[in-house]
Subunit: 529 residues, 2 copies
Amino acid sequence: MASSLRTVYTHLVDHVKKYKVLQSVNALLEWDELVMMPNNGADSRGQHKTVVASLTHDLQTNPLIEQYLSQLVELHDPKDISSVRVKSCSESAFNEYEISNIILIHKEYQRNTKIPKELVERASELSSRGYHTWVKARKSSNWSEFAGVMQEWIDIRREMSLLINPSKNVCDTLLDEYDPGMTCEEVDHVFSYIKKELVPLIQSIRKRVQEQPEKYGDEALLSKLQSTNEGTFPVDKQAELAKLVAKDIGFNFEGGRLDVSVHPFSTSFSTDDLRITTRYDTKEFVNGLAGVIHETGHSLYEGGLNRSYAYQPVQSALGTTIHESQSLFWERHVGLSLPFWKKWYPVAEEMFPYLKEKNNSIEDVYRAANVVTLNNFIRIESDELTYPMHVILRFEIEKALFDGSLKVEDVPKAWNQKFKEYLGLDVPSDAKGALQDVHWSSGAFFYFPTYLLGAAASAQIASAIPDFEKHIQENNYPHLKKWLNENIHARGSVTLNSNRLLEEATGQKLNPEIFINYLKNKYSKLYDL
Amino acid sequence: MASSLRTVYTHLVDHVKKYKVLQSVNALLEWDELVMMPNNGADSRGQHKTVVASLTHDLQTNPLIEQYLSQLVELHDPKDISSVRVKSCSESAFNEYEISNIILIHKEYQRNTKIPKELVERASELSSRGYHTWVKARKSSNWSEFAGVMQEWIDIRREMSLLINPSKNVCDTLLDEYDPGMTCEEVDHVFSYIKKELVPLIQSIRKRVQEQPEKYGDEALLSKLQSTNEGTFPVDKQAELAKLVAKDIGFNFEGGRLDVSVHPFSTSFSTDDLRITTRYDTKEFVNGLAGVIHETGHSLYEGGLNRSYAYQPVQSALGTTIHESQSLFWERHVGLSLPFWKKWYPVAEEMFPYLKEKNNSIEDVYRAANVVTLNNFIRIESDELTYPMHVILRFEIEKALFDGSLKVEDVPKAWNQKFKEYLGLDVPSDAKGALQDVHWSSGAFFYFPTYLLGAAASAQIASAIPDFEKHIQENNYPHLKKWLNENIHARGSVTLNSNRLLEEATGQKLNPEIFINYLKNKYSKLYDL
C-alpha cells in the first residue's frame, strides 16, 4: 500500500515540478525585463510571458493532478474545501514535508481550477485598464475617476473568493493568498493594539520635534548624511559599498547578482541563483544601501529554503508576512543598529570624501538613519514608526469596503479623517492620499497588512534569538543568518501557516507587544522621551 | 474553399508560433547563462532548459500539425519526403511567404518526428560524454582517445540522416541542416576552385614575407597596434569605442544590448530585442572591436527579418551560410577597409594614449588590421586568406569519413598532410591539428563549410551592391544596411534555399570567382605582389 502511494506521490510531484520550473523561467523573463531588456523588447516579452503563462496554466489545471490527489487526500468537513488532510491510512508513508506538500498542491489546484476562464480574463483586462485609469486619476488627483475601477475590483475579488471557498469569509480568503492561515480577526486584534500604542508615541515625538527642531527635526538630522548636489555619492562607489555589505551579511555572489532597476526588488530562480536590485540616488547613499540590505534579507530566505524539495510548493517561502519579516529583520534590526553604523560608516567615509568633511559623530549618523519623518504623506517614504499607521489605515478601509460599511466614493473622506487621527496631518490631495499606491489598481486587497505583520514578526524573531543583543553588538551576521536558516528559511511552507511557524521558532504566535516594546524602547532613547 | 484553407493555415501557424516563442524563451535562458548567471546557477538552469525543451518537443511533435499539413501539402514524388509542395488547388489562397512557411513547417515536422526518442537520447548522452572526452584528448594531444567518440557520432549522424530522408545522400542531409538546399556536389565545385586559386596566392605571400620580414612579417605589422602590457587598452574604453562603432553601423541600442562573454556571440529574442557580446583583451583592441562588428552583422540580419511573420519559420534566417555572409560583410568588407580605419583610428587614438604615442600612419594600421598570419595552426586565429584552407581541409576529411574512404584513426595523418599541402606548415601535435575544435565532439559535421560559403557569399553581395566602392569610401553604412535589409534580411527563409536567395539578390548563385578576385586584388596590393 505504502509503496503504491509513494508512486502516486512521485507522479504528482514530478508533474507539479514542471510548472514550478516554468514559473521560475517566467521569473527570469521578468527579471530580464526590469533589469536588462532594451526598451523595444517590451512587445515580444509580452508574447514570451503569454505563452509561458498559458503552458503553466495547462499544467496547473491538468486533471491528472486531481486524479493523483484523490488517492492521497480527503476532506475533514465535506462542506469546507480548505479542511483537507492527507488520508489517515497514508500518513505513515510520508514525512511532514511531504504531507504539507500534498496539502499545498491541493490548495493550489483549488485556486487554479475554481475560477472560470471568463473571470480570469475579466480580471486580466481590468488589471491593464485599472493601471492606466489609476495613472490618469493620480495625475489629476481625482479619486472619482478611479472609483469605478475600484468597485469593479471589489466585485471581482468577492466573486473569486466565494468560488475558491464558499464557506469562508471573503476577507480571510483574500488575506490567505498573501499570508496563509492568517484571519481578519487576528489582524484586527494585532492592529488595534499597535494603533492604541503607536498613536500617542508618535504624538510625543511630534511634540519633542516642535520644541527642538534644530536637534530632532528631520531636516537637521538628514542633512548630516545628504548633499544638495547630484554626483556627491557616485553610483559605482555606492554599488561597491552595497556589495561589501551584502556579502558581509551573507549574500553569496557565486550564487547571486546585484543590479540596478527602477524599483528595488528580489527574485530567485533557485536557491543557488538569487537576484537582487536597488537604485542609487547620487545625493545620498543610505536609501540605496537600505534597499540592498532589505532585498538581501528576502534573498537569504529564498537561498535558505530546503534544497531537498526544490521546485515544490512546500519549498516556497511562507507568504509575504514571513518574507517581509526577513527583509525587515536585516534592514531594521541589523542595518539600522548602532553597531552596524560603527562598523560601516568609516568605510563609507573612505569612499565618499563628502562624508569625511562632514565629520559626523556615530551618534549623529545613527539618529539620521533612524529619523522619524512627521510631515510625510507617502507610505513608501515613511519610516519604521509611521509606516504601521499607513498600513492600519488601509486595512480598516479595505475591511469596511468589503463588509459594506464604506462606499467606494467615500474612500478619500475616510482616508483623510484617519490620516489626521493617526498621523496628525491634513492630507492635501487624493494624489498624496488614497491614490498614492498602485496596488488597488490590480485588485491587490489585504496585501498591505502583511507589511506590518512582517515588521512585527521581525521584531519578535529578533527578540527570540538567544543573546541577540550580544550578536548585534558584535555584528555577528553569520550567527544570525544561521539561526534564520535553521528556524525560518529551511522550514519553507511546511507549517502551512505563519503563526504556526512563529510559534515553532519563537515560542508564541504573533504578539504585537514585542514589536511595540521594541519601538518604544528604541525611539524613547532616540528622542529623549 | 480558400476561406477554410485559410482557417487551417491560421490554426497551424498559431500552434507553431507557440513553440517558436518557447524557443525564444530558451534563447534568453542561454543568453543569461553565458552573460549574467552566477556560477552556482548552472544546475537549476539545466532544469529550466530541460522543462522548456520537453514542452517545446511536445508542441513540435503534436499530431495536430500533421493533421493541418495533410490538408495543405502533397508530395511531388511520393518516395521523396523533401519533394513537398503546397497543393495546387490551394496555392492561390496564399502569398509566397505563406507558401514557404507551410513547406518549412512540414520540413521541421519531419525532422522532429522521424528520429525516435531513443536515438535522440543517445545523441544527447554522446554530446556530453563527447565533450569531456574531447577536452581530455586535446589536453593529452592524443587523437586516438577521441577516435571512438568520433566513430559513434558518424554512425549516429548517418542513422539520423537516413531516417530523415532515406532517398537523399547523408552528406546532403547533414549540410542541409545548416545551409538549406546546399549539396555536397556544389560545395565540392566551389571549394575546388578556391583551393586551386588560393594555395598559390598564399605561397607568394609567404615568399614575400620571407624576403622582407621587417616590412611584411606579422610580428612587425601587429606590433603597430599591440602592446606587451596588460591594461594598455582598458575594457571600459574598448566597450565605449565598440558601442560607437556598432551604433554607427546601425545597431539600435533601444532594441539591443552589447555585453561581455567568454566567447563572442549574438542571439535575439525578437527583431526588437537583439543581444550581442564580445570579449576584450587589454593588450590590444582590434579583436574585441572586430568581434563586435561581426556580431553586429549577425544581429542586423535578425533585426531586419520580416516583422509580419514574427515567430514563424519563414521569418527565420536562412541558415548559417547567409548568416555568416552578414557578419563577414560588416567585419571584412567594412571593418577591414581603409576608409573604416581612416574614420575610426583617430577616435581610437583619442581613447588610447598608447596609440597616439605610436604615431602610426593609416597605411600601417590598415596593413596591421589585414595581416596574413602564416605560422598559425589554429582556425579561429587565422585570417581572411588562410581561413578558407582550414575549412576546405575539414570538409574533405568529413566527406571522406562519410563515404568510407578515410578511417577515423587516420584523421590526423590526413589532416597533417593536407595542412602541409595547403598552408605549408608541419602540424606539431593533434592538439594543434585535428583536435583543435570542439564541434566534432557534438557531432556537428558539414557545419564548417558554411563559414567559407558565407565568406564567399559576403564578397559576392558586396560586389552586387551598386556603387559599393563609392559607399565604402564614404563609410555610408545606412545605405549598405538598407540594401541588405531589403535584399537579404527581409526575405528571411522565403526562398527556402541560399543559392536562390543569392540569385535573387545578386543575379547569380554562389560564384567563387568573385571571392577569389576580391582576395587577389586586395592582397596583391597589400603584399606588393
